[in-house]
């Protein structure tokens, strides 16, 4: 109980610092980039172009999607990218902040929060692309779109949950960030980003077992059709996320001093 109180206090205390760090990181990021914001748009567009070409040429067989295929890929990729950012965020954040962590004792939650803020900021930019996309392809939007952010937040929190769990290990071992890159590459194929949710076979089973699937699909459905195809899956994944995140937060807090003593200044 005392721990929870302390956690809450530190979270409140780290608000301002997190904001500062976020502003610092984002402005530094864009100051050193010529294309700047365009980097948020390019990957989904390139991905959509590639898969649309391949699908049109019949090189890959994609089932029917409830959106025009390029829009489907672009929208899903944007969501997937946001998830990956949330997943990599904590590990990246603690690795880059290593010298700072080793020297100053500040609420460690701040760097995670700052990264989380950055993920939301980047998504906000992608939102411009998505809105443009919906207008261009005349995608019908249901009233449920106002609920879509809830699902999106759950998606991002799931990424953060896994990320925070790995973060302390990520400071100690470089294997974590390397492995993470590889795993996200594979994970993409188990997530209905460039294909609709498969219904049969081992592959279909694996895809449905993937907790990202219900979260990402629900976000997409709420924004477009308004019909949730797998509400049970969504809620299970959401509860796992929330409970998991709270637990990993405790783990993170307890583990950080040990990790910091091993990296030294």
């Amino acid at each position: 109980m005392r721990l929870l109180k302390q956690m809450g206090r530190d979270l409140l205390a780290s608000r301002e610092l997190a904001w500062r760090l976020m502003v610092r990181d984002i402005s530094a990021q864009y100051r050193q980039s010529f294309l700047g914001v365009i980097w948020a748009f390019l990957p989904p567009i390139v991905m959509a172009a590639g898969f649309t070409l391949a699908s049109d040429a019949g090189a890959i067989a994609v089932g029917a999607t409830d959106l025009p295929y390029p829009a489907y890929v672009m929208f899903s990729t944007a969501l997937w990218q946001t998830f990956v950012e949330a997943l990599n965020g904590p590990v990246q954040a603690v690795t880059t902040a290593k010298p700072m962590l080793a020297k100053v004792n500040f609420p460690r939650e701040a760097i995670i929060l700052a990264k989380l803020g950055e993920v939301f900021f980047n998504f906000a930019i992608k939102l411009i692309l998505i809105v443009g996309l919906f207008i261009w392809f005349r995608v019908a939007v249901s009233w449920t779109v106002i609920l879509a952010p809830v699902a999106l937040i759950h998606l991002i929190l799931f990424g953060t949950f896994v990320g925070v769990l790995l973060a302390p290990l990520g400071i100690l071992y470089q294997d974590v960030s390397k492995g993470l890159t590889m795993i996200t590459g594979f994970w993409l194929f188990l997530t209905p980003v460039v294909f609709p949710v498969p219904s049969e076979g081992t592959f279909g089973f694996l895809v449905r077992l993937n907790p990202v699937t219900p979260l990402l699909v629900t976000t997409r459905e709420l924004a477009t059709t308004g019909v949730m195809s797998d509400p049970a899956g969504f809620w299970i994944a959401s509860i796992v996320t929330i409970v998991g995140l709270l637990l990993t937060w405790v783990v993170f807090r307890l583990a950080m001093p040990f990790v910091i003593e091993r990296v030294s200044s």
Binding site: R20, D25, R31, E261
Partner: protein, 430 residues
Amino acid sequence: MTLVDREISIQSEETEVVISVKDVSKKFCRDLRRSLLYGVRDIATELMGGKRKETLRSQEFWALRDVNFELRRGQALGLVGANGAGKSTLLRIISGLIKPDIGTVKIKGRVAPLIALGAGFNPLLTGRENIYANMSILGLSTQEIEARFQEVIDFAEIWDAIDAPVQNYSSGMAARLGFACAIHTEPEILLIDEVLAVGDIKFKAKCYRKLHQLRQQGTSFVLVNHNPQAILSVCDSAIYLVKGELIASGNTDAVIEKYEEDLFLDSKKITSQVMYLSEKSASESFGLDITHLCFRNIEGEIIQSLKSGEFASFCVGCKAHHKCDNVTLHVKIKEIGGEGGTGAVLFLSGENDDRFFEILPGKHEIRLQMPYLGLAPGTYTTIVKLKQNSIYTFDVFESFRFTVGSDGKMSQCKFYQPRTWQIVGGDRVE
């Protein structure tokens, strides 16, 4: 350890304790791979709520062992010890960065570590943005930063460059900005780890003035420094660490004296400073032999430990087999392990001073009197030669070693200057 007890009882009970370190031990591992593995295991143990073992695992050593001390509000504590004695580890434990394996640390108030100047500076951002980021890392709210912003810039003296990216700053400017940020967080406890060597002399003086001002305002200090003089002048008490263990604590003078003694003696204590040489037979001898070497005080007694600035006479015992004339003594002193390289620190010859002796058969002692020993604390080796004129050498002794001890006043300099101080007033000054 008796020193510790006395010190604590002397301290007034009115001021509150701001740092209390009790039985703190910390172990580190020499092997990186193993160290990381131990780290993971420690985390697992901590998560399971298990107790940490008090024994060392393979390749581990105690970086700190049973360290105890207290610091009260407004006091300054000096931390001395050789490299790797655990000073920085102790500071990191105090600042809360790492947890001790055994023992507890209690802190009251905001701790500002001046170990971490410019933590979180992003080279791409401007000085202004970095001040905000850095000071909020150090725990200030935005309003507090805004209130101090101008002061920080004034202190760091970077008015023109405040909107330029920090990567374009000179290293001195960046360091100044870092120091200014840290010092303006107005901490209750300052941890200073040999960082004051930033900027030019003028800025350094400014830093010291600021620290002095903070000290007047009741900020507590923990100061780590290799320069004992700095600690002597600032701290009320000091602790001396050797390989993680607290060797001495209490009154600064006493602790520093102990530290300097150990530093110069380098663990090999030369207890008796007399050297007796085996006698040579008449056939081996060149006519005059060195029989013993020692130092004597003004009363003629053999000195066990030399001190800078005190009277000492270097005595060379000799035995003449026949009458020798025009005998001179040459003494060449070199420092062992000093920074001065291989050159001699001191070369004294009777020839240069025009001191020639006539020695009759029998035993004698040539005394080279030094009213004030000018050598700094350290260990020296001496080459002693007995010569006739400048060509003929009677006898040589290549390595007479002796040690000059410290009285705590000779730490920043190379030789002892005999001196007197006075103040001349009014009309006698032109």
